[in-house]
């Protein structure tokens, strides 16, 4: 199967299953690397720094080894490297968030009534965030339709 490497023959579904699994593992490695590298706190969360520097180094080393094994498997199974568009990724993130914001506001009344002042407070806070997100959406929209924009950077 692996040596034949055909993605359209009798093993096509199996190739796809292996490819999907390897992509999920690859994304999991991204998350681990990001968590190791990111600042440990934000406005809404804080990470307990419960790993030593030595452990962090060891994990980074192992992540590289996992990636090498994934690359080997990708080569054997001829898994295609997929292209992802940066504006599309951003658009999906932001669109999901806008929906989450809307849902949050409408769901709040399920937990109890809001006074006029409370309603205004929530609207103000969520609206403040929402307007920034909508701005990002508007920005990436032309990038998703290349013909509408004259200036472009070459894709890497």
């Amino acid at each position: 199967m692996a040596a034949e490497g055909h993605r359209t023959g009798e093993h096509a579904a199996q190739f796809r299953a292996v490819g999907a699994a390897l992509r999920r593992v690859d994304e999991g490695l991204d998350t681990i690397e990001r968590r190791l590298a990111e600042p440990a706190s934000g406005a809404t969360y804080r990470f307990r720094e419960n790993l030593t520097g030595e452990a962090r180094g060891a994990i980074r080393h192992l992540v590289r080894r996992v990636r090498a094994s994934v690359a080997t498997a990708c080569g054997v199974f001829q898994i295609e490297v997929t292209d992802r568009s940066l504006p599309r990724e951003i658009q999906e993130e932001v669109a999901t968030l806008c929906a989450t914001l809307r849902d949050t506001k409408s769901a709040l009344t399920a937990y109890g009534p809001l006074s006029r002042e409370e309603d205004a407070l929530v609207d103000g806070c969520l609206g403040d965030i929402s307007s920034g997100l909508v701005h990002i959406l508007q920005l990436v929209e032309p990038a998703l339709h290349p013909g509408s924009r004259p200036e472009r950077t070459p894709a890497r």
């Binding site: 692996a2 009798e10 579904a13 199996q14 292996v18 699994a21 999920r24 593992v25 690859d26 999991g28 991204d30 681990i32 706190s41 934000g42 809404t44 969360y45 804080r46 990470f47 307990r48 720094e49 419960n50 790993l51 452990a55 994990i59 192992l62 996992v66 094994s69 994934v70 080997t72 498997a73 199974f77 898994i79 490297v81 997929t82 292209d83 992802r84 568009s85 940066l86 504006p87 990724e89 951003i90 968030l97 989450t100 949050t104 709040l108 937990y111 809001l114 929530v122 806070c125 969520l126 403040d128 920034g132 997100l133 701005h135 990002i136 920005l139 990038a143 950077t153 894709a155 890497r156």
Partner: protein
């Protein structure tokens, strides 16, 4: 003042948004190739800059909202986060081994060995990451047996 459930609902939303804003910032700063995918950077420098600015503004709005609504700061364990990612990767790999692939069609014993060997090679490194972080979840709890983790089988 809005009730505790409402505060919690808003807090969860703010946290999701903060994570996503961080994801967008990461995408902007790390357009690159991974093992299984390539992020195509097709934004202009001006667009990137404006999106960065919008992300900063969204973060500021998040901070203001979190302070005004007095949402709790969620505390996460870096160790637990990495352990979760490693466990998920391990399960994904196990679910893709030859026995599972035979559900998609016939697979010769020889091909099954090739698949299993490749996935096992990745699993071994993922297991090593899991083992590294399977210690006590809370700082200061040294010596606490990671019983729940240890009971979950070979790796996770």
């Amino acid at each position: 003042m809005i009730n505790a459930s409402q505060v919690l609902a808003i807090g969860v939303t703010l946290h999701l948004i903060e994570e996503a804003v961080e994801d967008i910032e990461r995408l902007l700063s790390a357009a690159s190739a991974r093992t299984t995918y390539r992020l195509v950077d097709d934004l202009t420098p001006a667009e990137r800059e404006t999106i960065h600015t919008s992300c900063s503004q969204a973060r500021e709005a998040l901070g203001r909202a979190a302070a005004r609504i007095r949402t709790e700061i969620a505390e996460h364990s870096l160790r637990q986060e990495i352990r979760g990612q490693a466990a998920t990767a391990w399960v994904t790999l196990q679910d893709t081994k030859s026995d599972a692939l035979r559900g998609y069609g016939p697979l010769s014993p020889e091909d099954g060995v090739v698949v299993d060997d490749l996935l096992d090679a990745i699993s071994r490194h993922v297991t090593a990451i899991f083992r590294l972080v399977e210690g006590p979840l809370r700082q200061g709890a040294a010596g606490t047996p990671p019983a729940a983790a240890a009971r979950q089988g070979d790796c996770p």
